[in-house]
């Protein structure tokens, strides 16, 4: 191996966190210590990732399998922060004792390790291994609500669809390798530009790769697992699924699509465009009919995945860097408000409860005004309306990229989905302020996390340029 071993530090930190959590649970067997170790480890990973200097590892003369660059830093920091937030939100649930805290925290931090590794992985094998490391622990985490049948069902659905998706991804990678003899992304750009009999093989491989990865992002038609899985899983795990899992999937897709290079934009662009369009329409329309809070959030997060992918539809018609920037900027803002929405739901529900029906929230706006306001703020942010400016700017980023690329069909679809989305989010919002008797439990930790996330969303709204610069490749 040649390269800079120090650039692997964030992965070591993440893996070390998982081990530390495991040991803490063995030695102390106390929720506070286990979760505390996990949160501290995740924080250390985030700080470590932010400070680690750029570098490459596992290189030969032409390419590297590990590149710790700007996007890799972004992914690593985001994964660690999400994990810390989810761990903190899980404390009330873990205190009930129904879910084993040690296993829970270990699995979550193990998943974080996969996420951190994904950011820097620059060959197909490393990428798929990292993505599987991110996903594998989630099968168990989803099924951890022991007494719940829904939880077990959710876990099985998730496992089955995920395994198929992985198989498809691997088949795609194998075909690409067969056609080019190359798995490293930076070398793929030239290697994939083949002609002759290898070309259809490479094309098929690429399409299969995209299809398999689309599953992680819960893109139509590989979306059906998401609503039942989110609703059956413990709430913090659903929050993790809708943020970390999506973040991993979207970056894997970006790496593959950009790695495949301009020679294939005429295939990857329209393919992603069709996926994004279907996802936007199906996600927002079906979300309109949901009666349960988490299912509504799940369908809306499917629609959000459409917004994430939408700029990539214009690949080949605009500078790829601009399109990728729009996608990444939208992703970052989405992560903040989506986590905020889940934090709001978690802090308003009794410990260990699921998201419940929308009707169960009637009157909660009066009994817990601040938390309801924060949840409302996050939901408005998802809709993309003021006063949650971050969401508005996120949508402007996407539209701007598409308008610059003159992708008018996509602009129309995005606009329609955004308008339908308003009705969706109004559906989630109105029950909070209807008259009713719902009461919220005390949730000090949850409220603090919610407050910090809301503050982050406010700051992102007033200084969107910061996020835009972060998103620049």
């Amino acid at each position: 191996m040649r390269g800079d071993a120090v650039s692997l530090l964030p992965v070591y930190l993440a893996a070390g966190t998982a081990v530390l959590v495991f040991l803490c649970d063995l030695v102390f067997a106390r929720v506070a210590v286990t979760v505390g170790a996990g949160v501290l480890g995740a924080a250390a990973t985030a700080v470590g990732a932010a400070l680690t200097r750029r570098g490459k590892a596992f290189c030969d003369d032409t390419a590297c399998s590990w590149v710790f660059d700007r996007p890799a830093t972004l992914v690593a920091v985001a994964m660690a922060v999400i994990t810390a937030v989810v761990l903190l939100l899980s404390v009330p649930t873990l205190r009930l004792g129904e879910i084993p805290a040690g296993e829970y925290a270990f699995l979550l931090t193990a998943s974080m390790t996969g996420g951190v590794a994904l950011g820097g992985a620059r060959d197909l094998i490393a990428l798929i291994v990292a993505l599987e490391t991110l996903t594998l622990p989630l099968y168990v985490l989803v099924g951890l609500r022991r007494k719940s049948v829904e939880s077990a069902q959710a876990s099985v659905t998730f496992l089955l669809t995920s395994v198929i998706a992985t198989a498809v991804t691997l088949l795609g990678a194998a075909l690409v390798y067969a056609a080019t003899g190359e798995v490293r992304l930076s070398a793929l750009t030239t290697a994939l530009d083949v002609s002759g009999p290898a070309r259809p093989l490479a094309g098929a491989g690429l399409v299969l790769l995209i299809a398999g990865l689309a599953f992680k992002v819960a893109v139509v038609p590989a979306h059906a697992w998401a609503p039942s899985t989110y609703d059956g899983a413990p709430l913090p795990v659903a929050a993790y699924l809708s943020t970390a899992s999506k973040l991993g999937g979207i970056f894997a897709l970006l790496y593959v699509v950009v790695g495949a290079g301009p020679a294939w934009y005429h295939v990857t662009g329209p393919a992603l465009g069709v996926l994004a369009g279907l996802t936007l329409l199906a996600g927002s329309l079906v979300a309109l009919r949901q009666r349960r809070m988490v299912r509504l959030l799940a369908w809306s997060s499917i629609a959000q995945a459409g917004f994430l992918l939408a700029p990539l539809a214009a690949l080949g018609h605009a500078a790829p860097a601009d399109l990728v920037t729009a996608t990444v900027a939208y992703t970052v803002i989405y992560l903040i408000v989506e986590l905020g929405a889940f934090a709001g739901v978690i802090s308003l529900r009794p410990a260990g409860a699921d998201g419940g029906d929308l009707a169960e929230y009637a009157g909660i706006g009066r009994s817990a005004p601040l938390r309801s306001a924060a949840l409302a703020f996050a939901v408005v942010g998802l809709a993309g309306l003021p006063p949650a400016l971050a969401g508005l700017f996120a949508k402007v980023f996407v539209l701007r990229a598409l308008v610059d690329a003159r992708a008018w069909a996509m602009v129309a679809v995005v606009a329609v989905a955004a308008v339908v989305g308003l009705a969706v989010y109004l559906r989630a919002l109105l029950p909070l302020y209807r008259s009713g008797t719902a009461a919220a439990p005390r949730a000090v930790l949850g409220s603090v996390v919610l407050g910090v996330l809301t503050l982050a969303a406010v700051v992102a709204g007033f200084a969107p340029q910061v996020i835009f610069s972060l998103a620049r490749p």
């Binding site: 003021p386 006063p387 508005l392 539209l399 308008v419 308003l422």
Partner: protein, 494 residues
């Protein structure tokens, strides 16, 4: 000086936070002080004017998308800025001295009024389309809360209707704003006004979109049905702000964004706008003639009066060139006059309803006997509202008709019908006076409390302004004409 512009947003915001946090009497005092400081910050803006925009703040906000934090005030917006600051102060002071007995803590009501003021100031000073849109939206939630929290018995339904109507308007506005900004490559209203780049077809499509959004707010018939409900249920101060300045966001938007940025589109759509405006005048007046509830009557009269303003805008759009257009001048005058007079009328309606606990004209009557002062002010406000020459209401409505007739052809008919509507206005307002002020005193009216000091202080500035604008309409029209001309000269010379 330009720092004052930012102060217009920051001071009420701080006041709103202070009102919320302190609560009770201290919160109400803090809110009133903030409102007073805002008005104090507005006054110096009239001096030391630059050409074109009097004062400007222009800072990069999101350079990658060309979105700037651009605020400015000129003759078109300044009268509305003053009106906003004045009415908010009056409402806060009114709430301070006359806290409504029921409902949640009235310090929160004051805080919400200040939050609305932040949005209004943003709309009237925003010179970047995104800033303008955001400010437009900021107003929605606090106003919803004001109606839903302190309103009458049917407040929930009225508040929901208000929210749904304005929200659908907002979606259209967002589409229009993004359409303009992304097609033209700039979100800056001044740049877009001076260097129009959009083709005629694009302008027509975009104007149609934003015009509907503004028409909901203004409100233009047939999109007005949220207004009577909202006014009937809203608390007194809510109605004053709603009629006094909130509706003006629609007409101001039509002038600044519609006529300014999309002149070709406005010209093409103007006849439709004109017909609808005249329909609003006639229908509003006819409904008023049959109306038997005090606040509902005043609300419907707003539909008619705003119809005159919109007629002025439509005529102005057709004559082209903002500067010499009688129509736009009339619209700006009518805007401010309506804000002053209807604000006063709603204060009076609130005072009457507070005392008699009824708004039905059948139960009122003989106010002149039991409270001559109140009846006198009501008479004054009604005369101002019906457009008696010498009072504020006259100029806007008369010149909207004149501007329309000047255009010839079908516009003459529109002007004539609008004039008939003006006569109907006189009829229903005199009917209102006869029913409320004259006749034998009813049981509800007898023995009511005299006009309190808070009320006198709240009404006096509005009465004076109605008189002042009636005698010296140039206060509004001159400054506006100057700014409009400067804009045009700059556009031509570049």
């Amino acid at each position: 000086m330009s720092a004052l512009l930012i102060g217009l947003l920051v001071v009420p915001l701080l006041g709103a936070v202070a009102g919320f946090v302190l609560g009770g009497r201290a919160g109400r005092i803090a809110a009133t002080v903030a409102a007073a400081l805002t008005l104090a910050a507005v006054v110096p803006l009239a001096f030391d004017r630059g050409a074109g925009m009097w004062h400007e703040v222009d800072a990069a906000w999101l350079p990658d998308l060309g979105i700037r934090f651009h605020l400015g005030v000129d003759g078109v917006s300044y009268p509305l800025v003053v009106l906003t600051a004045l009415l908010t102060l009056l409402c806060c002071a009114y709430t301070l001295w006359r806290p409504a007995g029921e409902g949640p803590d009235t310090a929160r009501l004051s805080a919400l009024l200040l939050a609305i003021e932040v949005g209004l100031m943003g709309v009237f000073t925003g010179l970047d389309l995104i800033v303008f849109f955001i400010a437009f939206e900021v107003v929605l939630l606090p106003m919803y809360a004001v109606i839903a929290g302190w309103g009458g018995p049917d407040r929930q339904r009225a508040a929901r209707k208000f929210a749904l109507y304005t929200l659908s308007g907002s979606v259209l506005l967002l589409i229009g704003v993004l359409g303009i900004g992304l097609r033209a490559g700039s979100f800056d209203i001044v740049t877009l006004t001076q260097h129009p780049t959009l083709t005629r077809g694009t302008q027509i499509a975009l104007f149609a979109v934003v015009a509907v959004a503004f028409a909901v707010k203004a409100p233009l018939w047939p999109l007005h049905t949220w207004l009577p409900d909202a006014h009937t249920e809203a608390p007194t101060v809510g109605s004053v702000i709603l009629a006094g300045v909130l509706l003006k966001m629609g007409t101001y938007g039509l002038i600044r964004v519609g006529l300014g940025v999309l002149p070709e589109g406005a010209r093409a759509v103007a006849p439709v706008l004109g017909v609808l405006a005249v329909a609003a005048i006639i229908i509003g007046s006819l409904v008023c003639l049959a109306q038997s509830e005090l606040k509902r009557l005043i609300a419907y009269s707003s539909v008619g009066h705003m119809g005159f303003v919109l007629l002025g805008i439509a005529a102005g759009a057709t004559s082209g060139g903002l500067a010499h257009s009688t129509g736009v001048q009339a619209a700006l005058l009518g805007n401010v006059a309506h804000g002053v007079i209807t604000g006063l009328l709603f204060f009076l309606a609130g005072a009457i309803k507070d005392r008699t606990h009824t708004g039905w004209l059948d139960d009122l009557g003989g106010l002149r006997e039991s409270s001559p002062a109140m009846a006198g002010v009501l008479g004054f406000a009604a005369l101002a509202s019906l457009g008696l020459p010498g009072l504020a209401g006259f100029w806007g409505e008369a010149f909207a008709v004149v501007a329309s007739v000047q255009l010839g052809h079908g516009w003459i008919a529109l002007g004539a019908i609008a004039a008939v509507g003006g006569a109907l206005t006189a009829a229903y307002l005199l009917r209102l006076l006869r029913r409320v002020a004259h006749g034998p005193a009813t049981s509800a009216v007898t023995g009511i409390a005299a006009v309190s000091r808070a009320e006198r202080w709240a009404w006096a500035p509005l009465v004076l302004l109605a008189l002042l604008l009636g005698v010296v309409p140039a206060l509004v029209s001159e400054v506006a004409a100057h700014s409009l001309q400067a804009d045009e000269i700059e556009a031509v010379t570049r």
